[in-house]
């Protein structure tokens, strides 16, 4: 322990302003660097996640559309089949 009291510690033998200025600015710059680096990391991850979500959404929409088309064409086929059947039965009746 080099200092008798807390106020002596803050005074730093008359150099308090310069010592605390150095330590303060260094700590500030390093904290900014760490926070900014983490923020950029999160931003990149969020960007990739957002694009993935959009891709999945688009893919789902596309597959839904295809399914709808399939079911729509299937119903068209059904009606055609029914008409054919009716015609057949008519032919049989006649």
């Amino acid at each position: 322990m080099q200092f008798d009291s807390f106020s002596a510690f803050l005074a730093m033998g008359g150099y308090g302003f310069y010592v605390w200025l150095s330590y303060g600015i260094s700590a500030l710059l390093l904290i900014i660097l760490v926070i900014a680096s983490n923020k950029q990391n999160k931003a990149v991850i969020d960007r990739i996640l957002a694009r993935q979500k959009r891709e999945i959404k688009l893919r789902n929409a596309a597959s839904q559309q295809i399914q709808q088309q399939i079911s729509a064409s299937a119903s068209v086929n059904n009606t055609e089949d029914e008409i054919k059947k009716e015609n057949d039965s008519n032919e049989v009746l006649s």
Binding site: G16, V19, S26, L29, L33, V44
Partner: protein, 257 residues
């Protein structure tokens, strides 16, 4: 050795490796920095000439040493990316630039705050200080070039050339106190032969130095991983790694059925 190194040219392997490394590096950085800085501020003795202002030394000297060694590492990465077209070393170089710039700024600012009480001036245009300021501008230039082009390969090439040309500044900084008459004092720590420091000043310095080294590794790891992700965002392994969470709506619907 090349066989051992080879898998680390794969971004996926390196991404997971640095991920495993980071908690350890962070823990060591926290431990060493807290011990070192408390020791430097409270328990280390005052200098017989400079008094308590000598405590700035424990930040100023490691910051100045790392400002140069990070540039040296960046120059090696830039050389590898230019010669062997290694994409990862380009990512590493761009991850290191802001960290080096921060430490250069810390070295300059703490130097000014130390120079005012010791020399009577915040700033003087002498060889050591001016060449260190040029180093800061080199870092800014490299960072600007990395962000100046849409195409990361072109940006990396331009930044790598600036980095390599600028590395001529490193020996100028290192030997400026010997080549020119300057206010700045000569080497204290790295002097070969008889050390010019007592042990009760050297140990806190060494612990601070290691603490800063671990902190630098952590930050470079974070930035490096960010670079890897953003440069490989279309690769399958990144897509698999960052699958968006399954929305609970679809699962409840399937349960109802």
């Amino acid at each position: 050795m090349w066989k051992w190194l080879h898998p680390y040219a794969n971004p996926e392997v390196t991404y997971h490796f640095t991920g495993k490394l980071m908690p350890w590096l962070s823990a060591f950085a926290a431990i060493f920095l807290s011990i070192g800085l408390v020791w430097a501020l409270i328990f280390a003795p005052a200098d017989y000439q400079q008094g308590e202002s000598f405590r700035i030394f424990y930040i100023h000297v490691p910051a100045a040493m790392f400002s140069m060694s990070i540039y040296f590492a960046m120059a090696i990465a830039a050389f590898c990316s230019l010669v062997w077209q290694l994409k990862l070393s380009d990512a590493a170089a761009s991850a290191m630039a802001p960290v080096g710039a921060t430490f250069t700024a810390i070295a300059l600012i703490t130097g000014a705050a130390w120079g005012k009480p010791m020399w009577g001036t915040w700033w003087i245009w002498d060889a050591r200080l001016t060449s260190e300021l040029i180093l800061l501008f080199l870092y800014f230039g490299v960072m600007a070039l990395h962000n100046a082009f849409e195409d990361k390969n072109v940006a990396g090439k331009a930044a790598a050339i600036l980095t390599l040309v600028g590395s001529i500044n490193l020996p100028i900084i290192k030997y400026s106190v010997e080549w020119w008459n300057t206010l700045h004092q000569g080497a204290t720590v790295s002097k070969l032969g008889k050390p010019s420091m007592t042990a009760d000043m050297f140990w806190p310095f060494l612990i601070c130095f290691l603490g800063f080294a671990f902190l630098i590794s952590v930050v470079i790891c974070i930035r490096f991983r960010t670079e890897i992700l953003s440069r490989n965002s279309m690769r399958p392994w990144v897509k698999e790694l960052l699958l968006p969470p399954v929305t609970p709506v679809t699962t409840t619907v399937s349960e109802d059925k």
